[in-house]
Point group: D2
Chain length 339, copies 4
C-alpha cells in the first residue's frame, strides 16, 4: 500500500505514520518527493491489516492500494480458462451454452411446454424460478417446493439440466437436490453467508453481479465461493443500475470482456434482466457473444403478456427461436460452437 | 395503470390490448387523444396482476403506474409518526437519539471502554458488529457469538440498549437474545427472507437502505416487515453508490426528508458508512438533524487507526464528544430534545 | 399527459386541477378509479405548456408524460435509416465505417504517419483533436488553428475525410473549413447554442452522448440540430458515468441497439473514450458491430505511452490493424460490408 | 505518481518502464515489494506529462496519482475563506445570503412582483433566467435580451443585485452589463471556453456542479476561472444525477462539507434544481445551512403552476417566506447572520 502524506507535514508527523505502518505489520519505505512524501508499505495486503484506517490521521491524505484483493478468481493464479462441468454440459469451453426458461415456474403445463420449446431450439439448461425475490411483498413469490418438483419433472422428461435461484441458506439443501446449478441473484450478490452455504454443496454456482457491484467486488464475491473449495463458479452479468430509465437496468457488456480478461471463470450474460424489455434481448444477445461470453441465460414464456412475473422481458417461443438463429453467425465469428 | 398505445396503432390492435386489460382483472377505459390512445385500467394494482407485462405487445409503447406500491409504510395509511419503543428508549418522538459504538466488536476492553465513553457523551444505544459482512473473504469477519457475549456484557454494565447486525436467518434467534434492535445491513437490504425472519422476532428492526436502492424499494422492503405484523421499523439512510469517488458512498440526506414526508416511520442516519471518512462525520450529522432525522448511528473506536474494520470512518472518543456538542444547537433548532 | 390526483382529495380540489388543465391548453378527461382519480389531458404536449408544473398543487401526486418529446429524430417521423453522406463516404448504409486517428493532433509527423497507417488499415475518416476540452487547465489544450492546418495537410495527402471536435461557437466557422464532420464532445452534449451554431454549417455533426445523458435527452439534443434543418446527425455512444471504477466510463452498448430502434440516425461507437483503456478497445469494437453500430471512432497513436493526451486508451498501429482484422468476421455476421 | 508493475514482470520489462518514466520528466524510484514492484515517479505532476499513458504497457497494472490536480482552488494555497464581494454584498463571510427569483424571466409584472417579494423576505440577490438551456428545442428558451432588460429594471427599482445564467461566449459581454454574478449552469459546467470568457469579465462567477461531475472535476473547473486571474468564484451544488427517480436530481449535501473543507471558495446550494420538487425545498435549505453553505439560490414564482419553466420546483411567495423563517434557527445554530 502507498500512504500519501499531506504536503507540509512535519517530520514528526511523518514518523508517526511510519511507526504505525510498521506496527500494523508492513515494512515502511518513505519516498520524499518534490512536493509530498509517500510511504510505500511493503507486505502482503491480503494477510496484513489494511492501512486504509490510517486515513484518520490528519497528516495522511490518502491511502492507495497496490495489490489485487482477490487471488483464486484471478488469471494470475490460474491462467487457463476454467471449464465448469454441469453434469455433462461443459460451460466455458468451445460451445456457447444456452440456458432458457420462464422467469417463474407457474404451472406444470407452462414449464413443460417451455422446456420442450427451448430444448428444441438448442438450449441445454432449463431456468425457472421456484423462489422469487420480489421488490414488493404483494407480488407473486414463486411456487417454492412445488416449483422445485415441477423442475424435477421437466428435467426427467427432457433431460435438460436445471438452474434455479436459491434465496435462503435454509433452502440450499433441498434446492441442490433438484438444481444442477444454484443461482445467486443480484439482490443476494453480497449475501456472503448464502454464498458460502451454496458453495458447500459443491454444485456449480451462477453468481449474478449485484445491481451496483463493482467488478472487483463481484470477483471478491466469487472468491468467497472459491475459497470454500468450490471451483465451479459462473459469473453472470445481468445489468447494473444507472441513471438511464429507458431500460430497467443497463447491461454492462464491457464487464464481460473485463471479467474474461481478469478471471479464468466462465461468464454468462442475462440479457432479459439486463434490459427488462423483450424488444432488446436479441440485440444484446449478439453483443454478449461478440464480447466473449460463454453462454446466455434467457427468459422464455409461452405467453409473456400474462406471465406472473416480469412478462415485459420474456420472449415467447418464436422470439427465442429467432434469437438462436440470430446469434449463430456471431458464435461462428467468435470461433465458438453454436448451440 | 395507464397503458399507452403507440401512435398509429389500428383499432384492432387497440382492442386486443383492451381485451387483455380486462382479462388481467381491470376495467379498461380507453381515452382517445390527439395523437395517441391511452387505456386507463381501473382496479387496485396491489391485488391484481401487474399490467407491465403488456409492454411485450408491439402496439404498447409504455405502461405507467398510478398507484403507490406500498401501503403500511405510507402516511396515507397512518398519518401520525410511529414512535418505536426500544425497551424504554423512544425513537421517533421528541428526543433525538444517539446510537454509537465500534464498527466491529474486537475485544472486551475495546467494547466496554467505548460503551462507557459513548454513554457518557449521551448515547442511549450501543452499536457493535459481531457478524460482519466484508467485501473480501480475507478480511476480519467479526467475532460472532463471542461478540454477542461481549455486547451482552456491555449492556449489563452500562444499561445501554444494543443494536447489532444480523447476516443470516440462522442467526436471528440468538442475535435477538442480545440485541434490542436487529440491524439489517445495506447488502441485505433486499434479502427478503432475512427481513421476514427478523420481523418475526417482534424486535425493532433498523433497515438500512441498499447501496443503489430507490426510496420506493426501501419502503417496499419495510413493507415486508410491516406486513409480517412487526410495526417497529427504523429506516436508516447510510449513503448510496454514485459516481463520486471522494467518499466511499454519497450520503443522501434528501432521502431523510422524503422518507419523513412519505412514511410515518422513524429515520436514522449513519454518517460513518454514509461517507466512509471520519473527517466528514460531524458535518453530516448536523445535516441529518436539520433534515429531520430522528437519530444517528455513529461509529466510535478507542483507536481508529488500528481498528480491525473501517478505521478510516470511525471517530475516537474526543471526536464523538465534539460531535455531540456540535449537533446540540441544531437539535434545538429542529425542536428536538438533545441527547 | 396524465395528472394523478392523491387518494382522498375532495371534489373541489379535483375540480381545481381540471380547471388548471383546461387553462393550460388541454382538454381534461377525468377518470375515477377505485382508489384514485386521474385526469387525462388531451392535447399535443409538444405545442402546449407542460403540465408538470401542476405537481406544485398539494392534491396532485404526480404527472406522467404520455407522448415522446422528440419528433424529427424518431422512426415515427422517418422510418428508413438515414444515410449521412460525408463528402462521398456514406455512413449508416451497408458499409461499416472506420474513423481513426490520434486523440490530439500533436505534430505533422505524428498526424501524417497515423493518417497513412489508419488509411492502409481501412479507415475512411481521420480523427484528431485540434481543440481539446481538458479537465484541468494545466493539461495540454490542443494545437488549435495549427492543428487544423495539419488536419488539412493530412486530408490533402491521404484523401481521408476529417472529423474534429469543435468547442466553441466562435470556432465553428474555421473548424468547418477543414472538417468534414464536426464533432460535439460529451462535455458539450447539451451546449445547445453550440449545437445550433454547428447545425447551421450544414456539415454532418457527430453528437456524442453526454456523460450522464439519458437516451431521451440525447435524442432531444439531436432534435436541436434536426430542427435547425440539418439532417446529417451521427449519434455517438462514448461511455457513460457509473459507479464502476475499473474503466474510465462504462460503454453502454445497449444504447446502440436502443438508438437504432428508436431513431433513423446512424450510430457510431467510440470504444476508446468508452472505456479509457487500450486493452479493451478490440473487444468493445466487436460488441459495437454486433449491436448494430454503423461505425467506430477509434483513437490511434504512433506511440501511445508518450501521447500528450489520453495515451492509456490509444492503440498503436499494430493494435489498430489487429482490431480491423478482429471485427471483420463480425461485420460479416452483421451483414455489413467490411472496411 | 506511482506506477504499479504487474506481478511476475521480468527485470527487463521493469527497466523499460523506469526508462520511460525518466524520459517523461520524472525521477524514477523503484520499490521492490513482496509481490510486486512499484515505481515512484518524483516530480511535479502539474508541470510534467502525465504518466497515466504508461498503462498501455502490458507490464503496467495501474498508475496512481499522488498529487492534487488543482492548486488555486485548494486550501493548501489559500487557507482563509474567500469572501466574494458582489457590489457590496459579501458572500462567504458571516452573513448567510439568499438569492431568489423565478426560474425564467417571463414578464415585467412577474419579475418585479417577485423581486419585491423576495427582497421583503430578506433576499439580497435576484435570480432570473433570460437565456434558458432547455432539454428540448420545443420548450421555452427564455426572453433573451428582453429578459436582461427586465432584470436591469428590477435592479433599478429594488436595488437587488442580479444573478443570471450565461449560455454562450457571445452573450458574455452583454449579460455582464446587467449581471452582478454570471451563472454557469450544470450543462456548461465543463464548457471551459465559456468559463474562461466569463472569467475575463472579472465579475463573480457562480459555477454549478455538473450533473455527474466529481468534486475534483468541479474544483478543476473553478481552477480554470481562478487561473484566468478572477478570484471571485462561488461553487454551487445543485444536485447530481443518480439512479433515484423520486427527485429529478439528488442534492449532494455532503459535497457542501467537502468543498468547504477542501477549498476556500464560498459554497452556494440550489435546493430547487437540487430536487426538482417544491415540497422538499425547505427541508433541503435547512440541511444546506447545517452543512456549512454560505447561501441559497432558490426559485420563486408568483404562480408556480403556470410558470413557463420548471414550475414544479418553484416556491410561491408564501412558501419562500416560510423558508426564510424556517432556516433562521439553523443559521443561528451555524453561527451565521440570518438574512
Amino acid at each position: 500500500m502507498i500512504v500519501v502524506i499531506r504536503a507540509g507535514a512535519t517530520q514528526d508527523k511523518i514518523d508517526e505514520v511510519i511507526e504505525e505502518v510498521r506496527k500494523l505489520g508492513y515494512e515502511p519505505r518513505p519516498i520524499v518527493g518534490e512536493l509530498q512524501t509517500v510511504i510505500a508499505a511493503i507486505g502482503d495486503e491480503r494477510i496484513h491489516h489494511t492501512l486504509e484506517s490510517l486515513r484518520v490521521l490528519p497528516q495522511v491524505e490518502s491511502v492507495l492500494r497496490v495489490q489485487k484483493r482477490y487471488k483464486l478468481a484471478s488469471r494470475e493464479t490460474r491462467f487457463e480458462n476454467t471449464v465448469v462441468d454441469v453434469d455433462g454440459v461443459a460451460i466455458g469451453g468451445e460451445e456457447f451454452v444456452l440456458m432458457a426458461g420462464p422467469c417463474s415456474v407457474e404451472s406444470e403445463e407452462q414449464l413443460l411446454e417451455t422446456a420442450r420449446a427451448v430444448k428444441a431450439a438448442g438450449a441445454k439448461i432449463l431456468r425457472g424460478g421456484a423462489y422469487k425475490p420480489r421488490t414488493s411483498p404483494y407480488e407473486f413469490q414463486g411456487l417454492g417446493r412445488e416449483g422445485l418438483r415441477l423442475l424435477q419433472l421437466a428435467k426427467a422428461e427432457t433431460g435438460l439440466k436445471i438452474i434455479t435461484e436459491v434465496l435462503s441458506e435454509r433452502d440450499v439443501a433441498h434446492v441442490a437436490e433438484v438444481a444442477d446449478i444454484l443461482q445467486i441473484g443480484a439482490r443476494n450478490a453480497q449475501n456472503f453467508r448464502l454464498l458460502v452455504e451454496a458453495a458447500r454443496t459443491r454444485k456449480p454456482i451462477l453468481l449474478k453481479r449485484g445491481l451496483s457491484e463493482r467488478i472487483e467486488e463481484w470477483l471478491l464475491a466469487a472468491e468467497y465461493i472459491l475459497a470454500e473449495g468450490n471451483p465451479s463458479v459462473l459469473l453472470c452479468e445481468r445489468g447494473i443500475r444507472t441513471f438511464e430509465t429507458w431500460t430497467r437496468n443497463t447491461l454492462d457488456l464491457s464487464a464481460v470482456a473485463i471479467a474474461k480478461q481478469e478471471s479464468h471463470l466462465p461468464v454468462i450474460v442475462d440479457p432479459s434482466q439486463g434490459c427488462g424489455r423483450a424488444d432488446l434481448v436479441r440485440a444484446l444477445s449478439k453483443g454478449a457473444v461478440a464480447l466473449g461470453a460463454d453462454g446466455l441465460l434467457v427468459e422464455v414464456h409461452p405467453l409473456p403478456a400474462e406471465a406472473l412475473s416480469d412478462g415485459q422481458q420474456q420472449l415467447d417461443f418464436r422470439g427465442f427461436n429467432t434469437l438462436v438463429a440470430d446469434i449463430r453467425p456471431f458464435t461462428a465469428a467468435a470461433g465458438r460452437r453454436s448451440p
